[in-house]
């Protein structure tokens, strides 16, 4: 390292609290050379966001630096006069945060705000020149049709596009140093992978050094030249990513690496329980479609239709773990509303234990609701905040008129014991519970009616790795005891790998692939499945590289879907036919199937439907 752009020496930051100063960062030292990417990895509460904000001299009022210095080109950022700091900030030192959706004023066009920012930090630039630069940069970060996008409002941008726009906002003044604070966290993995690719280019094309802060080790390892590990406010080690992964020195780093789920370790799906051979399907989804009318702008004019679920078709067998995986907007939540009979499909049917869910009789629906239960996604909004935990768990019994008060109490306490909640919590309100405990309450509530099928709607997404493992163990134990069937709906492919025996992959409302666990991960049939695997956060040697599996570009809007295959816009193997015709599902044996023309040659001529019997 010949030249140092940024040199942090012994930085300590503390929070002002009622009890005095509480340290957030202690004695942090790091340096960064031009055009390099330094990754900073740390969990929640490690102080990484504070570090990122200290570097741009943008600490919240409750935090104050207590020691050390931050030298940018030899000048201490912390000791600058406010005016000087303001000149530096936004111009030479730029910052991109983890909330692209809320980062710009919703009432102004993106273009106007880019121009506003450039002219604020470089007053000499003319309006026309600023505009030209903004449009050129929007193109450079591969936002399609930048001249048009320039005039659009932030809410018209998708999350990934908005993050690109924020990167343009940071780069427009040609900064020498960019702080990227958790920028991929809110994005879908395949979109995040595209942003990471962009980061690597930025250092080359714009001559910018990047401090890349993230809580995901695989993400940092992917993008950074060197990685520092932050734990409890202190740097515990610094190594190039390959060395860090191969030979972590600090216990915290080792634990981080161990906790990461693996995708391609043989036997990785240890908890993935397959159904016994020959059992009947407990749930059959037959060619189900659902279309919503999006808020038509004026009540006149053409209605805009969102095809949320398109021809979904699969079986879930008694006693197995079935997974539905897909990114945001893939239709998995809509599918869940159909499965739980909260909404009717426009087309097709759903059979539960051989009976049509929508037979029309409300009595049937009530009976069904005793045997099929839902465990909800968000541990915070899923529990009624004013009801005691015991009453929440016993509520299904009240609703279905089972037992008297005393019996219900006994049952609820029994359930609390089964899911590992202390019985002393019976009369407490749920407000004080941790996310993990809340999900246990949800599980207990769902189990109390002794259902056959449990639908898990992103049940584990809000939990950290350790909690996830504990709950998965609990699910396994309960399954062994009660012979439950689980249907997991998730965006987390690693969780699916661990738990689900058979997996349906959804993209823009369609089940593009249905496969057994090992088959999906080692021999995926659909290019989108490969793209999803390539973008999954893992430290393992990747079987699929996102450079090969994923083109630049956004998923098309579900409102006006292109006529052909929905993935054609991002698929490296797409050909003309894919853009004109939507492929049907081709059978791949053992009940697996995928909807891609590439399989047409190899697939048997049998239609996919017959493989239900396989």
């Amino acid at each position: 390292m010949t030249e140092t752009l940024l040199d942090v020496r012994g930085l300590s930051v503390a929070a002002r609290t009622a009890e005095g100063l509480r340290p957030i960062l202690t004695d942090v030292s790091l340096d960064l050379a031009p055009r390099r990417i330094l990754g900073v990895i740390g969990g929640g509460g490690s102080g990484k966001t504070t570090l990122a904000r200290a570097l741009v001299n943008w600490l919240p009022p409750a935090l104050k630096p207590t020691a050390g210095e931050i030298l940018y080109r030899g000048r201490d950022v912390l000791k600058m006069r406010p005016a000087e700091a303001r000149r530096l900030r936004g111009r030479e030192i730029a910052y991109v945060g983890g909330d692209p959706a809320g980062a710009m004023d919703p009432t102004m066009t993106v273009g106007a705000q880019l121009v506003e920012k450039l002219r604020a930090v470089e007053p000499g630039v003319s309006r026309a020149e600023a505009r030209a630069r903004a449009i050129a940069l929007l193109g450079a970060v591969r936002i399609p049709a930048p001249e048009l996008r320039f005039h659009e409002y932030p809410f018209q941008y998708s999350g990934g596009m908005m993050q690109r726009a924020m990167i343009v906002d940071a780069l427009i003044s040609n900064p020498a140093f960019l702080v990227a604070d958790n920028i991929t966290q809110p994005l879908d993995v395949t979109v995040g992978a595209q942003i990471l690719k962009l980061m690597r280019e930025v250092t080359e094309r714009f001559d910018t050094a990047i401090l890349f802060v993230s809580s995901s080790l695989p993400t940092v390892a992917d993008v950074a030249d060197e990685v520092v590990v932050l734990d409890k406010g202190a740097i515990v080690e610094r190594q190039p990513p390959a060395a860090l992964v191969a030979a972590p020195r600090h216990a915290y780093t080792r634990r981080l690496i161990e906790e990461l789920p693996t995708l391609w370790t043989p036997g990785g799906g240890r908890a993935a329980k397959l159904h016994a051979p020959g059992v009947a399907p407990i749930l059959s989804v037959r060619d189900v479609s659902k279309t919503y009318v999006a808020g038509a702008r004026s009540g006149l004019g053409p209605k805009r239709l969102v095809q949320a679920v398109r021809n979904a078709d699969f079986d879930v067998y008694e006693g197995e773990n079935f997974g539905v995986v897909g990114e945001s907007g893939c239709g998995k939540s809509s599918l869940m509303r159909l499965l739980t009979a909260l909404e009717r499909p426009d087309k097709g049917s759903i059979l539960f234990e051989g009976k049509n869910v929508f037979s029309g009789k409300t009595g049937d629906l009530r009976a069904l609701r005793r045997r099929m239960q839902l465990v909800l996604q968000d541990p915070y909004s899923s529990l009624p905040p004013q009801t005691s935990i015991g009453d929440i768990i016993a509520e299904p019994l009240v609703i279905h008129g089972l037992g008297n008060r005393a019996q219900r109490r006994v049952r609820a306490l029994e359930m609390m014991g089964e899911v590992g909640l202390p019985k002393s919590l019976y009369d407490d309100l749920p407000n004080g519970l941790s996310a993990g405990q809340r999900q246990r309450v949800n599980v207990a509530r769902a189990m109390i009616l002794e259902p056959r099928l449990l639908l898990m709607d992103e049940t584990l997404s809000a939990l950290d790795q350790t909690e996830q493992s504990k709950l998965l163990d609990l699910f396994e134990r309960l399954q062994a005891q009660h012979n439950f069937t689980y249907l997991f709906i998730s965006h987390d492919i690693a969780m699916v790998r661990r738990v689900c025996a058979r997996v349906a992959v959804m993209y823009l409302g369609e089940v593009v692939e249905l496969a057994n666990n090992d088959r999906l991960f080692f021999d995926p049939g659909h290019p989108y499945s490969r793209a999803l695997l390539s973008a999954a956060p893992t430290l393992e040697e990747r079987r699929y590289r996102s450079e090969d599996c994923l083109l630049e570009g956004e998923p098309p809007s579900p409102i006006d879907l292109p006529p052909g295959c929905a993935f054609a816009t991002r698929c490296p193997s797409a050909h003309d036919r894919c853009r004109a015709e939507n492929p049907r599902a081709y059978a791949r044996g053992h009940g697996d199937r995928a909807a891609c023309f590439l399989l047409e040659a190899t697939a048997a001529s049998t239609p996919a439907r017959e493989t239900h019997d396989a």
Partner: protein
Amino acid sequence: MAILDADIPAAADDGARRSIARRIAAGAWASTEFKVGLFVFTALLLAALIYPEVSSLDPTRMNVRGRNTPPVFVGEGWSWAHPLGTDQLGRDMLLRSLVGLRYSLLIGVSTVILMLFVGSIVGLFAGYRGGLTDTVLMRITDAQLSIPMIILAIAILGVSRPTIPAIILVLGLSGWPVYARVMRSVVMAERKKEYVRGARVLGASDGRIMFRLILPLALPPIAFVAVLDVARMMIFESVLGFLGLGVQPPTPTFGNIIADGRKFLINAWWIATLPGVFLFVTLGSLNLMGAALERSRNRVYGGLS
């Protein structure tokens, strides 16, 4: 800011254990303005309840010799027997104001309860059912909202005879639309929450979800801020009285005292102004409490109004 502040420790955890209603109340209680308001209001309330009972004077009995006595320390001829002076007919102003306060509070509180009840039910059904129910109920609400409430009230009370129940009914029925709107928007937000979906999947009926789950959650924040409307309704009551459409004389109300006193503004300015000061102090105490509750609620809900 949630993401950016991730490193900063969450505020005292025990705060999260209590129910929302109690957090709002505690937050308001912590502010000076609430305590000041509560103290003044309690004092006035006690005075209104007790003083007319124990006083030897009668608010409606005239005393021609003792008329137009000025309040204490003003001009000549004042006496401690009539701290706020007497009116043109020699009636004690303090007593009349306190009796007026009784009616004012009775009408203000009953009206707000009625408004809250009608508005909440309409808003609850409109917000939860959506679709056609929502459209119909909201059009009716808009229609009601588009007639200035006071015009409606005076039109009805002016043409028929104003009695206390009629006044409560008219003010309450013309004031509910705002509550219906607020309740509707709260219910529409709650309806999308996971716990409602959970309850529906469990098989809970719509009525159970609306009245057992959503209403207990949505009502307290709205009801707290209704304190502000008690003050507003008391003003309306006095406006009606002032226009001669309120509780009829000889029963004293702020409105009719001030309307009468207005004729003697030059000779005996206190008749028209002092009851107003009295009313103003009462309203001020209510509004301080209401504002403190409203701010506390906004803080609990993270700045949402």
